[in-house]
């Protein structure tokens, strides 16, 4: 009986945390190397490419990893395609017939570009990942929803982004190949490859910070899925935040109203080792910017940051780590 109890507990624990750390004991070096070595000029033979990437890899998660890393390091984000689609979708926003016609035409163009030039936008990444995973015998789905970044106007919430869920060892996991691949610089019209591991099998509690699916069952948070209103009130996480944090512990909201001289605590669970000296808080009041090194402490892998707000006013507060922005909050400090 006790044995059964243990077994049930084990099952329970297993279903609770669907994230990369489930596979801590699996070394991805082999899969990552495979993804690095294999090159393909065009993608007209996806079967062969997928088999080359996955052969001799033992577990599904390694196979999936090889496919994922290959896609993220070989498929570029095409800003012109993005801008074209964005313009047309806005123009036909209220005309569903013309929108669907455009979607169909664009889809053809998109997949042609993807297979021949290895350039695409989010939905193309998600399709490719699903297709290649399926070829390797791994179940994966495409998820449409709202992707939140610092550049997006929160008053205009529309489905604008696509990512994936994948089934590994009978459990669903989240990933975002587009945002794992690199960063777009729209003003310069360029895309820079920079593999971000943070969007690979991310903890659903962190993934939700900038991914709100049209179908809420895809948050993988079950009964803890937030409403869209709650989603908008969450702190704004950037790619680097996904790279360094496993998840955030507190605060859960973006905006805070506190009294002068109050001390505020921020807490995060770290994904990897982090140089505490690289942690900075940057305050911006609309005209001037101030950067400070806050009081930090580390216990196990829980990072705690404390700050006493001495000046009144309204601030954007950005947390930087290793020279990059990780998360933004806003504070109104009153007397």
């Amino acid at each position: 009986m006790q044995k059964i109890g243990f077994f049930l507990l084990f099952l329970f624990v297993k279903t609770c945390f669907a994230q990369q750390s489930d596979f801590k004991n699996i070394d991805f070096t082999k899969a990552d190397n495979r993804a690095k070595i294999i090159k393909s000029k065009k993608l007209l033979k996806l079967n062969e490419l997928t088999f080359k990437l996955t052969e001799n890899l033992e577990t599904d998660v390694e196979k999936f990893r090889a496919i994922y890393v290959w896609i993220c390091s070989n498929i570029a984000n095409d800003y012109r395609l993005y801008a074209l689609n964005d313009r047309k979708r806005n123009r036909f926003e209220k005309d569903s017939i013309r929108l669907n016609k455009w979607n169909s035409r664009f889809k053809k163009l998109l997949f042609k570009k993807l297979l021949k030039k290895k350039r695409t936008i989010c939905t193309g990444y998600a399709y490719l990942l699903k297709e290649m995973a399926n070829i390797a015998g791994i179940e994966a789905k495409i998820v449409n929803g709202f992707g939140r970044t610092g550049a997006i106007d929160l008053e205009k919430i529309n489905a604008n982004h696509t990512w994936n869920v994948v089934k590994l060892n009978e459990k669903w996991y989240l990933c975002d190949p587009t945002w794992s691949a690199g960063i777009s610089y729209p003003d310069e019209g360029k895309f820079v490859f920079q593999l971000n591991d943070g969007y690979f099998l991310t903890d659903p509690a962190l993934f939700i910070k900038n991914h709100f699916p049209v179908d809420v069952s895809y948050t993988l948070l079950e009964n803890n899925s937030p409403s869209i209103e709650e989603f908008i009130e969450m702190p704004l996480f950037y790619g680097k935040g996904y790279d360094v944090f496993e998840k955030d512990i507190s605060p859960f909201k973006m905006h805070h109203e506190i009294k002068q001289n109050e001390t505020f605590t921020f807490q995060y669970k770290l994904k990897k080792e982090l140089d505490l000296n690289s942690i900075k808080l940057v305050f911006y009041n609309g005209s001037t910017e101030k950067s400070i090194k806050p009081e930090t402490s580390l216990q196990e892998n829980i990072l705690t940051i404390k700050h006493q707000f001495k000046r009144t006013g309204f601030y954007d507060l950005h947390l930087y780590a290793e020279g990059e922005i990780t998360v933004t909050y806003t504070f109104r400090i009153s007397k």
């Binding site: 007209l44 079967n47 395609l81 689609n85 936008i121 939905t123 193309g124 729209p186 954007d316 922005i325």
Partner: protein, 143 residues
């Protein structure tokens, strides 16, 4: 006398039945083993096209595989393919192409040339740029 005859008859019938079973067994063994030799093996060729926005065009680079195996092929520039292995009745070929609904086709004796039409799926094409652009609050002039 009458009784003896009955006994004889029963024995006779029994022996006949026994040999019958052996014969039947032999027949079935032959039937099943020969079946796999006799079953028609066909080379499957065909053309894959995609239907989108009520127009149909050939699809280059369709993934085609035998269900439950690693035997695969891809359609060429004209959408044509020849499956690399001979197939039997009941085998299932799977056709998939990005942006189209996957199609499974059961092979039968008439499958030596198949025309496969994939239907476009209904997913909308979206793209949010990954941006490191720092957030800035909108402020009224008083702030």
């Amino acid at each position: 006398m009458n009784l003896k005859y009955t006994i004889m008859k029963t024995t006779k019938t029994f022996t006949f039945k026994k040999s019958n079973i052996i014969l039947l067994g032999l027949f079935f063994t032959l039937f099943f083993t020969s079946n796999s030799f006799l079953a028609q093996e066909i080379t499957v060729k065909g053309v894959v096209s995609g239907e989108a926005d009520s127009k149909t065009e050939v699809l280059t680079g369709t993934n085609i595989y035998l269900k439950g195996s690693k035997i695969v092929t891809t359609s060429n520039k004209k959408g044509e393919f020849t499956f690399p292995q001979k197939l039997k009745t009941g085998d299932v070929l799977v056709f998939s192409y990005l942006g189209f609904v996957k199609k499974r086709i059961k092979i039968n004796a008439n499958s030596s040339f198949i025309n496969v039409v994939l239907k476009e799926d209904e997913n909308q094409m979206l793209g949010a740029l990954n941006s490191n652009k720092r957030y800035t609050s909108k402020r009224s002039k008083q702030e």
